[in-house]
């Protein structure tokens, strides 16, 4: 295996989605057996936040369109999925299948909303587009607030969640964890492949220079609408996972502040880096829960948001490109070296053993 080959294998690809899902489920098993239910819930939020951050990154980080209404798409997905889970038509499906498919339904609903929001980008750009997305987010929230079918101000309570498959040793939590990790991997893989495909380059060209892209024959409007639709789809998926893990929805959750939370994640992680989004989502979910909350108990003052916003400002000043900038995990020298070492290792193993159709080839694109 040449060095060139190893680069091809690892440099611009991801680890095999199947392997990652399997590893995550293993991790879920550890978490289930070693932590309390509160920590377990927090872990589920991480998945939701990863999906939300990665999906917003497609629009803002990769296509360069600033969106202030991501929570609106999340709300559409969450409410649609929750509403469907109450419907008798859906109860016919087996439990696990139902809850694996619901995020897709939520995602489709959000994608339609994304299409509608994407349309104004025919004419608007920059700050004007940003304010329109903010407006759409607010409209969605106020509409939910006034829709009695989804509880209005009272919110939707006791949203069903998967009951697992106890005969097969799959506890409710592990099932939920598996579905969440499945969708997280699907999200990241899909988005990764989109932006690294030829079509995905169109998004990047729009980000870099709209006029130049248009001159090169890129349909800028179509690219923007596409970015919005895909991004909204995954935001809806994230919303659906949120709905079934928190089991309670209220329009108040999906306010402007929620959109800002997601923006903060992608900015901290690095606009245009999915790896950064993942790291930032994990960080932003865990730090308030396990560092700032205990701090509040010591100081007796809620300093959480103050510290949070200070970190944000300092980060922007000290490291304006975010944690990773536009680099992905595979762009780091030490990762490349490590990968090369592992591939050499595998090559040696495969020389002696039967075939080389082991894990890394499954990772090729």
């Amino acid at each position: 295996m040449t060095d060139q080959h190893a680069r091809g294998l690892f440099l611009r690809s991801m680890p095999s989605p199947f392997l990652v899902t399997a590893a995550l489920i293993l991790l879920g098993l550890v978490i289930e057996n070693s932590t309390n239910a509160y920590t377990q819930d927090v872990v589920l939020w991480i998945f939701t936040n990863i999906i939300l951050a990665a999906s917003l990154n497609l629009v803002s980080g990769f296509t360069g369109q600033f969106s202030l209404g991501h929570a609106g798409f999340m709300a559409v997905g969450a409410y649609l999925s929750a509403w469907c889970s109450f419907r008798p038509e859906f109860q016919a499906l087996p439990d696990l299948l139902r809850f694996t498919l619901l995020p897709a339904i939520g995602g489709l609903g959000a994608a339609i909303a994304g299409y509608i929001v994407g349309l104004p980008s025919l004419r608007l750009r920059g700050d004007y587009l940003a304010i329109v997305t903010l407006g759409f987010g607010e409209i969605i929230r106020v509409t939910l607030l006034n829709t009695e079918a989804v509880g209005g101000a009272r919110g939707l309570n006791r949203i069903p969640a998967t009951e697992g498959w106890l005969e097969m040793g799959l506890s409710p939590y592990l099932a939920q964890f598996s579905i969440a990790s499945f969708w997280t991997v699907v999200t990241i893989t899909t988005l990764w492949r989109i932006v690294h495909s030829q079509k995905g380059r169109i998004f990047l060209s729009v980000r870099e220079d709209e006029i130049a892209a248009e001159a090169m024959g890129v349909n800028v409007t179509q690219a923007k609408v596409r970015a919005f639709v895909i991004s909204a789809f995954f935001a809806g998926v994230g919303g659906s996972l949120f709905a079934h893990s928190v089991k309670y929805l209220s329009p108040a959750t999906f306010s402007f502040t929620k959109s800002v939370d997601i923006i903060i994640m992608i900015v901290l992680g690095g606009m245009g880096s999915f790896t950064g989004s993942v790291i930032a989502a994990i960080f932003i979910t865990l730090v308030p829960e396990f560092v700032l909350r205990p701090l509040q108990e010591i100081t007796k003052v809620d300093l959480r948001m103050v510290i949070y916003s200070l970190i944000l400002i300092l980060f922007m000043i000290m490291r304006p490109t975010g944690l990773l900038g536009t680099r992905e995990w595979s762009d780091f020298a030490w990762v490349k070296k490590l990968m090369r070492a592992i591939s050499q290792l595998l090559k040696r193993g495969s020389d002696g053993d039967s075939s080389s159709s082991t894990s890394p080839s499954g990772a090729s694109r």
Binding site: V30, N33, S34, T35, N36, A37, Y38, T39, D41, L145, N146, G152, A153, R154, G155, N157, R158, V246, K247, Y248, S250, P251, A252, T253, Q296, D302, W334, K337, L338, R340, A341, Q344, L345, R348
Partner: protein, 399 residues
């Protein structure tokens, strides 16, 4: 970084062994984590009794959470000073939910699964109680809401209780008061769409008032956080109501009263519910709010020794602050829980739950409280009129 660099330069066997070390280290860390959390799980100190509380201590409804917390703390402090329950001191763990429903839910999850409390007290706002109650029910830990009046709260399950009256009763009280005591025939409603407390109360009032032969001339809505209500009030003024029912929180009611007067509705009284109860109402409403009526849990004008005594002790504890209805309910919720723990044969959530359910004719600050089959408190309500820096007692309405 440096280490990794050297590792790739090393021979493959060394790389392999490093890999092995790494794997071992990860395994070790995971098992340590597991061990740590296991010990944490089992570490339930037996010398204290843990009670959890969740409330909004920050955010726009912070005074609700703070008042309840002060009342509750007073009840626990008094019990601990008297020797605690069965020789054990009570420890109160309070978490802030910033006024967010999903945060309320997370905090109850945390209180029960991480802090292993025996019972939970909270929340004031029905929206947040509704969000959090299913968690308490799921883990079978009793939860007492001091002041969530929406009927659905206790319908969540048999571990959820409340020590206040419910909205159907409160709405009935105000409808009855408007129709029979004030002899009003035409009333308009201005409700807060963002709060289900407000919309729920509005629905009941509308139904009851119509049933008594009154007429609802118009329903307008606002969203909590608004400061300008003139558009809605102009609409209402056009309908010429004799009174306006504003089932909102004191934060907005004061401004609504001012703007109603500015628009020329000088002698149209405002009517409201227990969400009005705060010293801030007088301050913000000023002259405009005087003469309006609202239903409440108790009145500070009572000569009931229990109430007089409570007000005195509360003022001593909190620098002369007058306890509002929420503080009184927080105190009562704490006392009912303490009494149930005292009676319980063993200190388990199950036993405590059963004793709370048996509460009968408990003499609290907010009246005689009996817990009924729906786990709601049957008690009377008072109607008070806002006067100069005091709420004058008008009448008591019993169920």
């Amino acid at each position: 970084m440096l280490q990794l660099k050297s590792s790739t330069r090393c021979s493959n066997s060394s790389a392999r062994s490093r890999f092995l070390h790494l794997a071992l280290a990860i395994f070790g860390a995971v098992s340590m984590l597991q061990l740590a959390s296991c010990t944490k799980k089992n570490a339930q100190p037996s010398h204290v009794i843990k009670i959890g509380e969740y409330g909004s201590f920050t955010g726009s409804e912070a005074t609700f959470g703070v008042s309840t917390n002060e009342g509750l703390k007073l009840a626990i402090k008094e019990k601990n000073a008297a020797g605690g329950i069965k020789g054990k001191k009570i420890e109160l763990i309070s978490y802030d939910n910033q006024g967010k429903p999903e945060e309320a839910r997370a905090m109850v999850q945390r209180l029960i699964t991480q802090d292993q409390v025996l019972a939970v007290i909270g929340e004031v706002a029905s929206t947040r109680s509704l969000a959090a109650a299913p968690v308490a029910q799921q883990y079978k830990v009793p939860m007492i809401s001091p002041s969530s009046t929406n009927p659905q709260v206790t319908e969540i399950g048999d571990y959820i209780f409340r020590v206040c009256f419910i909205d159907p009763f409160q709405g009935l009280v105000m409808a009855k008061f408007a129709r029979e005591n004030l002899k009003k025939a035409k009333v308009a409603i201005l409700k807060d769409v963002k709060s289900d407390y407000s919309t729920g109360l509005s629905d009941v009032f509308e139904r009851e008032f119509k049933a008594m032969g009154g007429e609802i001339v118009g329903i307008e809505s606002y969203a909590s956080g608004d400061t300008d209500f003139k558009a809605q009030l102009t609409q209402i003024k056009g309908k010429k109501p004799e009174a306006i029912f504003v089932p909102g929180y004191y934060t907005e009611v004061g401004m609504i009263a001012r703007q109603a007067r500015q628009l020329g509705m000088k002698d149209v009284p405002l009517l409201g519910g227990d969400g009005w109860d705060s010293e801030k109402l007088w301050e913000i409403g000023g002259e405009a709010i005087k003469g309006s009526y609202f239903s409440n849990h108790y009145t500070t004008e009572s000569d009931n020794p229990k109430v007089v005594d409570f007000i005195k002790r509360y003022r001593e504890e909190y620098k002369g602050k007058t306890p509002d209805g929420l503080a009184a309910l927080g105190y009562d919720a704490g006392q009912i829980l303490i009494a149930a723990m005292e009676r319980a044969s063993e200190l388990t959530p199950q036993a405590i739950r059963n004793e709370i359910a048996k509460t009968k004719d408990f003499v609290g600050v907010t009246g005689q409280i009996s817990i009924n089959d729906q786990r709601n408190a049957t008690k009377s309500a008072v109607v008070v009129q806002v006067a100069d820096k005091v709420n004058r007692f008008v009448t008591t309405i019993t169920p």
